[in-house]
């Protein structure tokens, strides 16, 4: 492009950089600029001489000229006093930060206030705040105010040409009012009411009636006369409206007044005239009653015998600190009491023969220790009688020995090393704790009550199996099922888990029945199952391996369990039992299997247990059956997490595919950690 240019050139070319171009270097610095830069960098160092703080400009044409000292003590001329500012001391480089260039310009205080005053209140709230502020803020007139005041304005007045009195108040019509002028009113700030509610636009609530307002007159009424000459007044929305031409703007159809509504649910009372209500005269407010007011019941005072001498006798009332005894009935005294007239109403009532003894009992207790019959001799002999009574009555109460059936807990029997007294009869009153929520527990209790009442067995049908079997072998299985202590509402009983996970164990159990008890533990995720294998008193308890879960619901559990404990102490309420849901059938199945296996063993065909496991038909059958059973049962627990896991387990075809169910959070965390670590490695 330059090649073609033929004309003259003035000035420099405008440099328009393209995007592609590399930004050009800075132009070469002139000498002066170079020096300047150098000076800035080195602050006058490396040159020697007086140059501190002033870039070596001391004494030079352009530079700092040190001032000679002048004493200002004698100097009275303060106006000429040297006023030093920040700029005298700072370097040029600091001017940006501290010099006048960095100063902000702001208004002087006298002018500043005007800004704030200009806040116009728009809402009621703001107005309130504003007025309060005005009250509290120190009075200081603005410039404008001061100007106006100097011109004759007073605060509160309006601004503008003066107007006549008449114009302001049109009612006045005197000559004087026409002529005199007054300053106009100040313009009021327009306060808009912000909508702060959620009602529809234009909604006005019902007006609350006030007794001071003369309501009837504001309503429209139609007056008329009946046949008998009675005047009636009809009021309502539609009445008395039509011909009112004067008040055309009256909104007829939207009058909703709270006064039209009743404020209390009360039967229709005859209208009390307001005059009566608010009059001060007593006669107006009260009316003579129709019925004379009599005391409902009047009791005669007790008959005092002629020779009665009142004296205080201290009768020791036995108060055992340990027991609540002391109100043991004393028949003799009671009988004496009966002879005398006491005059209590309820005693004279006719009561059923059945109820009488109870009443008498109650009376006994009530009066025996508190009252002394008038007939008895009030001397020492009375006290003696008191001590005699207990022995005679103790005979009456002592019923000797009462023996009832009691069912000790199986675990308790085990701990005592005592054979359990009952075998086939199921426990009716088990006071074992489960952490059931209160309401399900109550519901259960109710169910139980109902079931017991109707005569239905409290346990499901499979219960029939136990009494059929021989006590020796089959017993452990049923007991095992009974002793499930898993949480009722959360997990299926332990048998289910056992059935799934402890396949090989069942064989062991069968063979070692006669052997002394061996404890086996099977880990099921976070739960360890302690099972006492063999022995007639197999116990199964679920022992959580991780304590965390317990702690989570501890507070809640405690509250509930406290409630539960209260419940169990009440004898009327049957205690809570776990329902072994379907374990009976399971054990039945297992038993059949075992029986078959036993038969095979006896025949002598199978030697090794492993062979048995692999080749026995019964085993295959049982496996399939078992799995089917489990799947069926799992349908009941569709909502549980564990179910899905179990399903996986059950439906897997080979043992290799068995999925590990892990319920522990720790394990998951560990797994996650491992995964992370693996990722990191790669």
């Amino acid at each position: 492009m330059e090649d073609f240019f033929e004309g003259a050139r003035y000035g420099k070319e405008i440099y328009e950089p393209n995007d592609e171009d590399v930004p050009r270097k800075k132009r070469k610095l002139s000498r002066r600029e170079e020096r300047e830069k150098e000076r800035q960098l080195f602050h006058g160092a490396f040159k020697g001489g007086f140059s501190v703080g002033h870039f070596g400009t001391v004494g030079s044409k352009e530079g700092f000229q040190p001032k000679t000292f002048k004493s200002s003590r004698k100097d009275q001329n303060h106006s000429e006093r040297i006023r030093q500012t920040v700029e005298d001391f700072i370097d040029s480089e600091d001017e940006e930060a501290f010099g006048s260039s960095s100063c902000r310009i702001r208004m002087k205080k006298s002018y500043e206030k005007e800004k704030e005053v200009k806040r116009v209140p728009h809402t009621e709230r703001q107005l309130l705040a504003f007025s309060v502020e005005k009250l509290l803020a120190p009075q200081s007139n603005t410039v404008g105010e001061r100007l106006l005041q100097s011109l004759g304005w007073k605060p509160g007045q309006g601004i503008g040409k003066k107007i006549s009195l008449q114009r302001k108040n049109p009612l006045l019509s005197s000559v004087a009012s026409n002529q005199t002028t007054i300053s106009p009113e100040d313009i009021q700030a327009i306060i808009t009411k912000f909508k702060e509610d959620t009602f529809g636009l234009g909604y006005q609530g019902l007006e609350k009636p006030s007794f001071s307002s003369v309501a009837p007159s504001s309503q429209n009424h139609v007056f008329g006369t009946l046949e008998k000459g009675k005047k009636i007044r009809i009021s309502g929305q539609a009445f008395g409206v039509g011909m009112d031409e004067d008040n055309e703007d009256m909104d007829v159809y939207s009058k909703e007044d709270l006064s039209q509504y009743d404020f209390e649910l009360a039967p229709a009372k005859p209208d009390i005239r307001k005059k009566e209500m608010f009059s001060t005269k007593l006669e107006d407010r009260f009316v003579l009653a129709s019925k004379p007011w009599l005391f409902q019941k009047y009791y005669k005072p007790p008959d005092v015998p002629k020779d009665f001498k009142p004296h205080l006798e201290e009768v020791e009332v036995k108060q055992d600190t340990i027991s609540s005894e002391g109100l043991v009935g004393r028949k003799e005294r009671f009988n004496l009491l009966k002879k005398g007239n006491v005059g209590l109403e309820w005693e004279e009532k006719e009561v059923d023969a059945k109820e009488r003894p109870k009443e008498e009992d109650f009376l006994q207790k009530l009066f025996s220790s508190r009252f002394v019959s008038k007939g008895t001799d009030q001397t020492a002999t009375g006290i003696e009688k008191e001590t005699e009574l207990p022995t005679s009555l103790s005979k009456a109460r002592r019923g000797g020995r009462i023996t009832v059936d009691w069912f000790p807990d199986k675990l308790l029997c085990t701990r005592f090393n005592v054979p359990c007294p009952y075998l086939s009869v199921p426990e009716k009153k088990t006071e074992r704790k489960t952490s059931l929520p209160l309401f399900t527990a109550l519901a259960l209790a109710k169910e139980k009550k109902q079931q017991q009442a109707s005569g239905v067995e409290s346990f499901p049908a499979p219960q029939e199996a136990p009494p059929e079997r021989e006590p020796e072998r089959e017993l452990p299985k049923t007991e095992e099922a009974d002793l499930v202590t898993a949480q009722f509402h959360e997990r299926p009983p332990i048998d289910l888990f056992k059935a799934i996970f402890a396949d090989s164990e069942s064989e062991d159990e069968v063979s070692t029945l006669t052997q002394p008890s061996i404890t086996e533990t099977a880990e099921l995720g976070s739960w360890t199952v302690e099972s006492k294998v063999g022995g007639p008193y197999e116990n199964m308890t679920l022992v959580p391996a991780i304590e965390e879960k317990k702690d989570v619901g501890k507070g809640q559990d405690k509250a509930y369990s406290e409630e539960m404990k209260k419940e169990t102490i009440d004898e009327n309420l049957p205690a809570i039992t776990e329902k072994p849901i379907f374990t009976k059938t399971f054990s039945k199945q297992m038993h059949k299997v075992e029986e078959e296996d036993h038969a095979l063993i006896e025949k002598g065909k199978m030697k090794d247990k492993k062979e048995l496991a692999e080749t026995s038909k019964s085993k295959v059958k049982s496996d399939e059956l078992r799995r089917l059973e489990i799947l069926e049962r799992l349908k009941e627990f569709d909502d549980l997490e564990e179910v899905n896991d179990l399903r996986k387990v059950v439906t897997s075809e080979s043992e290799d595919e068995w999925v590990e169910i892990d319920r522990s959070d720790k394990k998951k965390k560990k797994q996650k950690k491992r995964k992370k670590e693996k990722k990191k490695k790669y």
Binding site: D320, I322, R401, I569, E571
Partner: protein, 303 residues
């Protein structure tokens, strides 16, 4: 036995009031339960305090040592039943099931279960082997505060303030209730296991036959109206021993019912707790803040 004299040694327990005093299983050591929330283990014969167990929230009401002397169980007003390790003094377990003050606690024969009786009218059996916090069983037949529990190899006895002794037979699955009318503050089996000795609050100690419930004998002469007084039989079942509210310990001949000894406790108003040695003719008694160790004096009997 009639002419046996006892020598006593008084020891300050410094526990406030000693609520209960118990021998351990072999009688070499004794436990004192104090109102200052501590439980102390002593060698009474050497007059030595061996260990103090602190852990109760309120007064300790009763305690017992295990069969192997490795553990102690105690109960108190704080509604807790605590299982202690003897040597370390640590609390092994704390059972918080009771709803009110636990009056009495006992081990079973093998010390696998702790049985406690409380003011909340229940007797609870705690499994010491497992980690369960809930009792194995709650015996709630009582209608008033259970003041005393006693355990044998196959039965649990509970004495109640409603005047009834309940014997829970684990072997037969039966509950025998004997109504003695007056509040019972102590139940003990005789050494032969055939009789139940009950302290009743009408100043009578009653011996009833265990199997039939028949009242065999009554022992009177002491004072027992207000407080929890212990009673027991001596080591050979020849005498019945009881505390009293007149500051003495009474001995009766078991067969006769006649008072053989009346041992004065100097400076004590009420002797409420006693424990007899299992084999030797010596016993310990507690009155307020002190306890007495009584041993047969080495005088020759004239008979």
């Amino acid at each position: 036995m009639k002419n046996v004299e006892f020598d006593s040694f008084i020891s300050e327990s410094k526990q406030g009031t000693v609520r209960a005093i118990r021998f351990n299983v072999d009688g070499n050591y004794c436990l004192t339960c104090g109102s200052d929330k501590t439980l102390k283990l002593w060698n009474p014969f050497k007059r030595m305090l061996l260990k103090t167990y602190i852990g109760h929230g309120l007064e300790v009401m009763d305690a017992q040592g295990s069969c192997d002397n490795s553990q102690l169980v105690s109960c108190g007003t704080d509604k807790n039943v605590i299982l202690w390790d003897v040597t370390t003094g640590n609390t092994v377990r704390k059972y918080r099931g009771h709803l009110s003050t636990v009056n009495s606690v006992a081990f079973n024969e093998e010390s696998t279960v702790a049985i406690s009786g409380s003011v909340d009218t229940s007797v609870r059996c705690w499994d010491l082997k497992s980690k369960r916090n809930e009792p194995i069983q709650i015996l709630g037949e009582g209608t008033d505060s259970v003041t005393s529990v006693s355990v044998s190899s196959y039965e649990v006895l509970a004495g109640c303030a409603d005047g009834r002794v309940r014997r829970y037979d684990l072997r037969n699955g039966k509950l025998d209730t004997d109504d003695l009318v007056h509040s019972i503050t102590s139940v003990r089996l005789t050494k032969d296991g055939q009789g139940i000795l009950c302290s009743c609050s009408d100043s009578t100690v009653r011996l009833i036959d265990k199997d039939s419930g028949e009242l065999l004998s009554e022992y009177k002469g002491h004072t027992h109206n207000q407080f929890k007084i212990d009673s027991c039989t001596n080591h050979s079942d020849t005498h019945v021993v009881s505390g009293s509210e007149d500051g003495c310990v009474y001995f009766w001949s078991l067969i006769d019912g006649t008072i053989t000894h009346r041992l004065r406790h100097e400076g004590a108003r009420i002797v409420h707790s006693i424990a007899y040695h299992p084999t030797k003719n010596c016993f310990i008694s507690a009155a307020e803040g002190r306890f007495w160790i009584w041993q047969e004096s080495e005088q020759e009997t004239e008979e």
